[in-house]
């Protein structure tokens, strides 16, 4: 069992107050432990944690580029294998690095079957460069490249289903989790690290700056995403979906109203048509994963 008092992400990093990804970093390392080597992609976490000559990482850490982390990790893993070493290799990358620009390298690394744990901290946009949309941005979210306007309701496409894409690569372990449930993150990371082969974990990491909410409410936002069915926590073990988190669902409106990125759906009047489309996404999630608690 992971030592939950272990702190391998040091204080003094430069994330916004209430940053979901910063919390995720701390929890990931509790699950991964000291015998870890972290490969990072360009993005908020890299920037807030390693302004030269300071670093927040108490485990070995390497950043190369935005889109090659899985390939760098392949090389680290191969070297460790050849040298007979025992460290475990983890990637910690943003959703832009994972869903968009890094897909080639991730797909290659998973197909080759390297023993790595790839973790995507999903804040649902390119935050480091100023809140541009990514393939992980939810339907209708307002970002600087998917702005709501006279002819637009925000991001016009639904979120890409990365966990299923990686499960289809034959990954032995795929899981989603959320900073709203810290122990779940620790447990899932620990399990991935102990699983042979390439594992994928996607962590919902609300970003107060990019989504437009008070940094004191990060956990609350994470909970709401789960409780509305817009984010589902599950595990896929050897291709079989297991351990889905069940909820007594709330209407998506509660989640949407809490964030400025969806404010256009409520101004000047409530856009029931668009909100219904988002509700349909939650309903489809509920159906697909069977998340509704039957009481």
């Amino acid at each position: 069992m992971a030592d939950r008092s272990l702190e391998l992400e040091d204080c003094g990093h430069r994330a916004c107050g209430g940053c979901g990804p910063a919390l995720a970093a701390r929890l990931i390392l509790k699950g991964a432990g000291e015998r870890s080597i972290i490969c990072a992609s360009t993005g908020c976490m890299e920037v807030f944690s390693t302004p030269y000559p300071q670093t927040a990482w108490k485990v070995p850490w390497i950043h190369s580029l935005f889109q090659n982390t899985a390939a760098v990790a392949s090389g680290v893993e191969a070297a460790l294998k050849r040298q007979g070493r025992d460290e475990h290799v983890l990637c910690i990358c943003g959703d832009g690095a994972t869903f968009d620009i890094g897909v080639l390298c991730i797909s290659g690394a998973f197909e080759r079957g390297h023993n790595i744990t790839y973790i995507c901290y999903d804040n649902e946009a390119y935050m480091n460069t100023g809140i541009q949309r990514s393939g992980a941005t939810p339907f209708d979210a307002n970002t600087t490249t998917s702005p709501a306007g006279k002819l637009s309701h925000g991001n016009s496409r639904p979120k890409k289903d990365m966990p299923q894409i990686l499960a289809a690569h034959g990954a032995p372990y795929v899981a989603t989790c959320s900073i709203a449930y810290p122990n779940d993150i620790i447990r899932k990371v620990e399990r991935a690290v102990k699983t042979d082969g390439p594992c994928y974990i996607q962590i919902h990491t609300p970003c107060c700056t990019g989504w437009g909410f008070d940094g004191a409410k990060t956990i609350e936002l994470g909970k709401l995403a789960i409780e509305t069915g817009l984010w589902v926590n599950f595990e896929i073990v050897n291709g079989k979906t297991e351990k889905v988190k069940k909820v007594k669902r709330k209407p998506v409106e509660e989640y949407l109203r809490a964030q400025k990125r969806f404010a256009h759906l409520f101004k000047p009047s409530v856009n029931t048509e668009e909100i219904a489309k988002i509700q349909a996404i939650a309903d489809a999630n509920a159906e697909k994963y069977g998340i509704d608690l039957k009481i």
Binding site: E34, R35, S36, I37, C39, A40, E46, V47, T50, P51, Y52, P53, T55, W57, K58, V59, P60, W61, I62, H63, S64, L65, Q67, N68, A70, A71, V72, A73, S74, G75, V76, E77, A78, A79, L80, K81, R82, Q83, E87, L104, C105, S107, G108, A109, E111, R112
Partner: protein, 386 residues
């Protein structure tokens, strides 16, 4: 041991002798025979390396970076489109001071698509921070790989190296080569000792971002290391000569140059043709010689200046084109800078692009042009197509 080997297989032999712990590469003509042969060696147990068979060049060099950062000696090979696909990683590897050695089978860059030789690909990456060595024949290509690891891994240097050789002309040509003894190579090239590496017992962060207060000094250090590599190469070349008998103690090579009035300058396999042309011209009483450049980065400017002292007419045969530049060739500019003497005529001749043959007659014609003071032009164009 002397063997008749295809260039690519001679390179694979060099890699076998160097024993990289991790190899990662992606096939592209005319480099393919190297990676195929290495895969065979690994499959047969003749080479104990982790061979990462990646999905792209971008991942190939990224994987080498990761393995090198973890403390392993690594190897890769590519060409043309593959090298440009790696471009972003190339800068990164050099900036992170990882001593990666990569074979470059020089090939033209698309469009139009061409699998044939020129040196545009590696020249494009001039400022990426990689040492660039150019070989004339199969033996030199093999030998430069061994020297490349010595230089790259030297703690005074810690820079990556391209070992460049002309695609097909060297990669696919059979020549007799002397394959060094494993025992001697072991003595010449001890195991790689990284200055630091990713290690849970001694954690450190690599590849952090630098604000304006820090960035410039990193580039400065890179440049300093590049400059230091000049002497490190010469020393490594000298020791190579002592052990193996072939002399690489200089980054340039002169051929009938000491008493010449006209100098031709070139890099790579065309130097062989130029030497033959010079013999023909010398027999006719023309005082012409060759200065072969073995390293484009670092550029051995001082040595070149010395070698060319007193020569007033110089022509540079360029297998690259810097489009829109007045002089046209990337090497000529460096020669002009090295000499810094307006009384000397230095002219560029862009030739052999996309694999066009350069023959002895062409070199003689070029010498006529150098003598007449006509240059900074394409050489050997088919006027009827223009």
């Amino acid at each position: 041991m002397k063997k008749i080997l295809e260039g690519s297989h001679a390179i694979a032999e060099a890699v076998r002798l160097v024993k990289p712990e991790v190899i990662s590469a992606y096939p592209i003509t005319p480099q393919t025979h190297i990676v195929e042969r290495l895969a065979e060696m690994v499959a047969d147990g003749d080479l104990d390396s982790e061979y990462i068979c990646v999905e792209s060049e971008f991942s190939a060099l990224s994987a080498c970076l990761g393995a090198s950062a973890a403390g392993s000696r690594v190897y890769s090979a590519t060409s043309s489109q593959g090298l440009l696909f790696m471009a972003e990683v190339c800068f990164n590897v050099a900036g992170m001071r990882q001593p990666v050695v990569m074979s470059i089978a020089n090939r033209a860059v698309s469009a139009p698509l061409s699998i044939w030789n020129d040196q545009q690909d590696s020249i494009c990456l001039r400022d990426s921070g990689w040492i660039q060595l150019y070989a004339e024949d199969v033996q030199e290509t093999l030998d430069l790989h061994l020297i490349a690891y010595r230089v790259a891994e030297d703690h005074k240097v810690l820079l990556p190296v391209f070992v460049c050789f002309d695609g097909f002309i060297i990669s696919h040509t059979y020549e007799p080569v002397d394959i060094p003894d494993e025992k001697d190579v072991k003595a010449y090239l001890p195991a790689y000792v990284p200055v630091n590496k990713l290690d849970a017992d001694d954690p450190l962060s690599m590849g952090m971002y630098a604000t304006p207060e820090y960035y410039m000094e990193f580039r400065y250090e890179n440049d300093q290391a590049m400059t230091r590599s000049l002497d490190v190469f010469k020393q490594a070349g000298k020791e190579f000569k002592d052990l193996f008998g072939r002399d690489y103690s200089e980054l340039i090579e002169e051929y009938r140059l000491s008493d010449a009035k006209i100098a031709i300058i070139a890099m790579g396999s065309v130097c062989g043709t130029i030497k033959d042309a010079i013999d023909v011209m010398r027999a006719q009483g023309r005082e012409v010689g060759l200065l072969k450049i073995r390293a484009y980065r670092p550029f051995p400017a001082e040595d070149i200046k010395k070698a060319l002292s007193g020569i007033k007419k110089i022509g540079v045969l360029e297998k690259n084109i810097s489009l829109g530049s007045r002089m046209k060739g990337a090497v000529g500019l460096e020669i002009k800078d090295a000499l810094d003497d307006s009384s000397v005529s230095v002219l560029s001749y862009v030739a052999g692009l996309g694999g066009r043959d350069i023959r002895i007659e062409d070199v003689i014609k070029m010498t006529d042009a150098i003598e007449a003071g006509n240059g900074d032009c394409f050489f050997g164009l088919r006027e009827e197509l223009i």
